[in-house]
Symmetry: C2
Subunit: 289 residues, 2 copies
Amino acid sequence: MTVQVNEFLASAKVRVEAVLDRVVPPTSHTPGTLHEAMRYSLMAGGKRLRPGLCYAAFEDCGGTGEAADWGAAALEMVHTFSLIHDDLPCMDDDDFRRGMPTCHKKFGEAMAVLAGDALSILAFQVLARAGSAPAISVLADALGSDGMLGGQVVDIQSEGKPCTLETVDYIHVHKTSALIEASLELGALLAGADIDQRKLYRDYGRAIGLAFQIVDDILDIESSTEELGKDVGSDVENQKATYPAVVGLQESKKRARELVDQALALTDRMGVRGPVLADLARFIVERGN
Amino acid sequence: MTVQVNEFLASAKVRVEAVLDRVVPPTSHTPGTLHEAMRYSLMAGGKRLRPGLCYAAFEDCGGTGEAADWGAAALEMVHTFSLIHDDLPCMDDDDFRRGMPTCHKKFGEAMAVLAGDALSILAFQVLARAGSAPAISVLADALGSDGMLGGQVVDIQSEGKPCTLETVDYIHVHKTSALIEASLELGALLAGADIDQRKLYRDYGRAIGLAFQIVDDILDIESSTEELGKDVGSDVENQKATYPAVVGLQESKKRARELVDQALALTDRMGVRGPVLADLARFIVERGN
């Protein structure tokens, strides 16, 4: 990662974490345990990639003011909601996330279901502050049965079965890319971008989102526990639908590079944040090397 | 129930069910099982009280057009989302709902969690069609950790413990009234009502919502399985925080009547749908007799 993109992401992270701390009720507010569980998972760290992408597109489209804060915070909350529910015993049954006990291991299953629910609802409460019904549509469309949740369902249903490339593409595009696309489109939309401009960021998001997930599949096979903070090879163990399982490691790496090249070509048409978004695209493949 | 309110609710039910059938993707659309699970719980019947209240307030405020349809459908979807998650093994662990196997008994736990998630997201997708960010706020505020989900958390945490009237009030106001209040306020808001008008419907909703839940507590003790379609005395069995458990049956009935009287007084200030909303308030206590 270049110094520039490192600094951009670090500053976006500080900014969105301050917003998150402000909008999630304190643990002193009833029901305290719920707010504690929400904060536990939300504040567990991470690169805050989705907020970073939202801020980048927002600034690239000339946006100013706090509208992007509502978008960025909402994105991180729905991302965390999806992780909490994905980790549940009835789903992936994961005990650790980012090196810490998962929400249900720490607070019990009922509280984890409710903390996920409450984060997804709070995301809409917070995003509504931007006063844009179209922004609500962008986020909800990315999450629904034709977006992230659709990907999660097909992912679960594909476990332990032979899988086609078409199915893996469906899962990755829905489960991962949809929210990354939405992160960029939200930033553009909240800055007042028109439909054509929004499509540019959306297309870039689709490409890096899919590349990101393919690289994730590759890392799951190649990396060590220390680097990832989760059980290595858990995809293999769970017989998950992955790119390498369907087309092999070499072909997966080639596909990820192609997608990043597509994304890079799109950044040529962007403005002041184009170089940062280009570096981000490169970073995605590089973390797989 | 009078003929007038019966006809009003029946017509609201037909209207909202047609909207629901249109906005939930068909089971032929991937992922089919998810859409089947969403439809199974959503189309399981019920009085569609919340959509009815939304339509009534909308018409009372002179609203016309389809905006109320988006509100009504969203309300029924979030209500169903809450029922699906409440029924989960880690929550109330109920096997039957409205005389049918609960969503997780029929489709498995993972699919039930995801069907609930997808219905809550779809509610925001659909409500966003009305183009009103304040409407999104009203719905999300009613559902979040300071609304319905807060009530659900405190309800779970109070099980099997001695309970104060203050706690039972908190649970009922948050878990039940919040969404009923929002049903009325959404109808008024979508019709273009101002803040003062919205407060009138909101206050009425608070009163009938709380009365509704107190009568529900009473019915749980007094009714037979045939009438309710769920296990009788399940609140007692689960040692739930209820009004009769804290203040006794007679005092609970008195409190429900007082709340309905409050609601009736408010309907005097309403318009063409005032009589229907008055009848609805009376119906709520009468079903307890």
